[in-house]
């Protein structure tokens, strides 16, 4: 089905999940200031990615698997994972979906088709292809969604995996989320295609698979192209590469500090490292959520009042999530010896 044929329900569903992801990520970010010490290590946010995430996942069939990188909070929210469980995990608590064993970078909820994440850049691309191999060997008809950043696309794992996935015609869709920053490094310092003025989707040519670039701030454009790629994968035609372009509105992650120095989210690298305030302001002005909201109120999908309802519900939901997570107990220290071996 094309995006233009989507019914009101589906469009409202998309907006609802975009709002929920934003509210969740704002809470994570806010925790660093409001409750220092509650979140440990490194957390990576998906604010700015909502349209890309939701537009892609709207194409899913119930059993399709989703395997993103460590910037992973947004996807399980759409898949139906308990947001209380996600926040409790990020808050190191026993009620976390990984019982406090993994944290922000290593969320997993196999029951909701989210087998797990790795914190090593690009390593998960191979894992996603592996999940697709399972689907192929067992003939389940599943497709696997592999999400990763532009930074991953210079790792060996990217090249090796895409080649082998193409050779084996694995039912996987590779979604390269290009937000033009790899941690603190601007893409113009590290990508030969970008430097030559070519889109990153061109990398697909190396494997003779379809590659297309989409506006990742428009969930319907993402929906259409990912949908086509998913159909191809499900029909046994193998993988595709979708370059989804959008801006991440937060910096790479909370500042890397060593205890006892407290950590928090600073300014986006565009401003902090490159002094490019204009670029950042433009990205903020192009925020996918108000943009989609305006589109949907504009074409009569919902009213301004309806949109406010959705936003308020998301706000209330995530307020509860924070309360729950703050009150959740810590794991018993001796739990640390569990789960080493199956």
């Amino acid at each position: 089905m094309l995006a233009k044929e989507l019914g009101k329900d589906r469009l409202v569903w998309m907006y609802t999940h975009m709002a929920r992801i934003r509210e969740f990520e704002e809470r994570v970010k806010g925790t660093f200031a409001a409750h220092p010490g509650v979140i440990r290590g490194h957390a990576h946010l998906a604010d700015g990615a909502e349209a890309s995430i939701v537009g892609a996942l709207a194409t899913r069939q119930e059993n399709d698997l989703v395997m993103p990188s460590y910037r992973c909070h947004g996807y399980p929210l759409v898949l139906g994972t308990s947001p209380r469980g996600l926040m409790a995990e990020i808050y190191t608590r026993k009620d976390g979906i990984c019982k406090g064993f993994g944290g922000s970078m290593h969320l997993a909820d196999p029951e909701h088709h989210f087998p797990g994440t790795t914190g090593i850049v690009a390593a998960g691309i191979a894992h996603a292809a592996g999940a697709a191999l399972t689907a192929q060997v067992k003939k389940t008809g599943q497709v696997v969604y592999s999400f990763f950043g532009d930074g991953s696309s210079k790792q060996g794992a990217f090249y090796e995996t895409l080649n082998l996935a193409a050779v084996w015609k694995l039912p996987v869709v590779f979604i390269l989320e290009n937000n033009e920053y790899q941690a603190y490094t601007h893409i113009g310092l590290e990508d030969a295609n970008y430097i030559a003025g070519d889109p990153l989707s061109q990398k697909a040519k190396a494997f003779s698979i379809p590659g297309v670039t989409v506006d990742g701030t428009d969930p319907l454009q993402v929906y259409d192209e990912v949908g086509k790629a998913v159909d191809r994968a499900r029909a046994g035609q193998g993988p595709s590469l979708i370059e989804s372009k959008f801006y991440r509105l937060s910096p790479h992650g909370n500042a890397i500090t060593v205890p006892p120095v407290p950590t928090q989210f600073q300014e986006h690298e565009a401003v902090e490292v490159y002094g490019n305030k204009k670029e950042y302001e433009a990205a903020r002005a192009n925020d996918p959520i108000p943009k989609f909201r305006a589109k949907l109120t504009g074409n009569g999908t919902f009213s301004d009042a309806d949109a406010k309802c959705i936003e308020e519900a998301a706000r209330a939901e995530m307020d509860d999530v924070v309360k729950f997570a703050l009150a959740s107990p810590f794991p018993a220290p001796e739990d640390a010896v569990k789960y080493v071996y199956a």
Partner: protein
């Protein structure tokens, strides 16, 4: 019933039997299953038996992802050093994912690789790198020394729900042994006393077991009774059986084809120092490779590696030691 077969045949038999038993077991690697004439392809088809390009990161990473989602992949790596190309998947992905997920996933992979090829394969293809993988929580390591052990450990490796590195010594490939027919499983973490003795305990793995048994024969001619213990798995490691043996003999010689600080010997020595000190009548002796890479030319290759003669000398040096008086 048992049959005589070669070490490599025994491994293939285990893989074939497990693939027959469980349709989730798949097998792939470079330069294998090239055509439909391949016996594994003939029996199990091209979906479950595949050829890969030279892409270890993808081979191992895909195995991890497939294992997380219900398959039981065996990856043929040929040489343990090739795992180094993709060591993130071996050390920092496969054994970590279950733990980090709070026990929600398991990663039942077998990474199969030959090692220790001391026949002129030189610096990069003759190594023993198991020390880099020992002690990594969540990762298991099997190192058979006989055809029967090769079969039993491979079957167990495939049935194990954890990531297993299965290392088979190249110099043992053609060695024959009695191998039980049908289902034969050797549990991990259970050492095997390959030769009973009373005067000294020799602990060895892989090809070094064979050399230690030959050394024990030479020693027996001089009236020295050596017990040879083969851990069979380096992780989990059966410290208990080793300490029991040291309790009996009072003397320990550790034989390892790796260089000293890169050996399993040094790990075992540490365990015995802590758990078996009271039984030792003499200091522990480690007979390992010298601290060089493995040279190409034969006289040099033999010079740096352990041999029957060096093992015999090691045993004699331990017997010659006076135990320090400890009250």
């Amino acid at each position: 019933m048992a049959r005589e077969m070669m070490f490599a045949e025994a491994i293939a038999a285990a893989i074939g039997e497990e693939m027959q038993r469980d349709s989730n077991v798949i097998f792939y690697g470079q330069n294998m299953a090239m055509t439909e004439r391949d016996p594994f392809v003939k029996k199990f088809g091209k979906s479950r038996v595949r050829i890969t390009p030279i892409s270890e990161t993808a081979e191992l990473g895909i195995a991890v992802g497939a294992a997380m989602t219900g398959l039981r992949p065996i990856v043929e790596l040929y040489m343990s050093e090739f795992m180094l190309v993709a060591f993130d998947q071996v050390i920092n992905e496969a054994p970590r994912l279950r733990y980090m997920s709070g026990g929600q996933v398991k990663v039942p992979v077998v990474f199969k690789a030959g090692f220790g090829f001391a026949a002129g394969w030189a610096g990069q293809h003759s190594n023993c790198i198991y020390h880099t993988m020992m002690g990594i929580p969540g990762l298991k390591i099997a190192v058979p020394s006989t055809a029967a052990d090769a079969k039993g450990l491979m079957a167990s490796a495939i049935r194990d729900d954890n990531p297993v590195v299965y290392l088979h010594h190249y110099m043992l490939t053609l060695d024959k042994g009695e191998v039980p027919d049908g289902e034969y499983l050797i549990p991990f973490g259970v050492a095997d006393v390959k030769r009973a003795g009373t005067d000294v305990t020799i602990v060895a793995t892989g090809w070094m077991v064979k050399k230690s048994l030959a050394a024990a024969e030479l020693l027996a001619k001089e009236g020295i009774s050596a017990e040879v213990v083969d851990p069979r798995t380096l992780a989990p490691l059966d410290v208990k059986t080793i300490v029991e043996s040291v309790k009996k003999t009072g003397r320990l010689v550790l034989v390892d084809q790796a260089p000293r600080h890169a050996s399993a010997a040094v790990v075992i020595a540490g365990e015995v120092a802590e758990h078996g000190f009271q039984y030792l009548k003499a200091a522990v002796k480690m007979v390992t490779a010298m601290d060089t890479s493995v040279p190409y030319s034969e006289p040099m290759e033999s010079y740096v590696l352990p041999s029957e003669e060096k093992i015999v000398q090691g045993v004699k040096s331990v017997l010659a030691m006076q135990a320090a008086a400890v009250q």
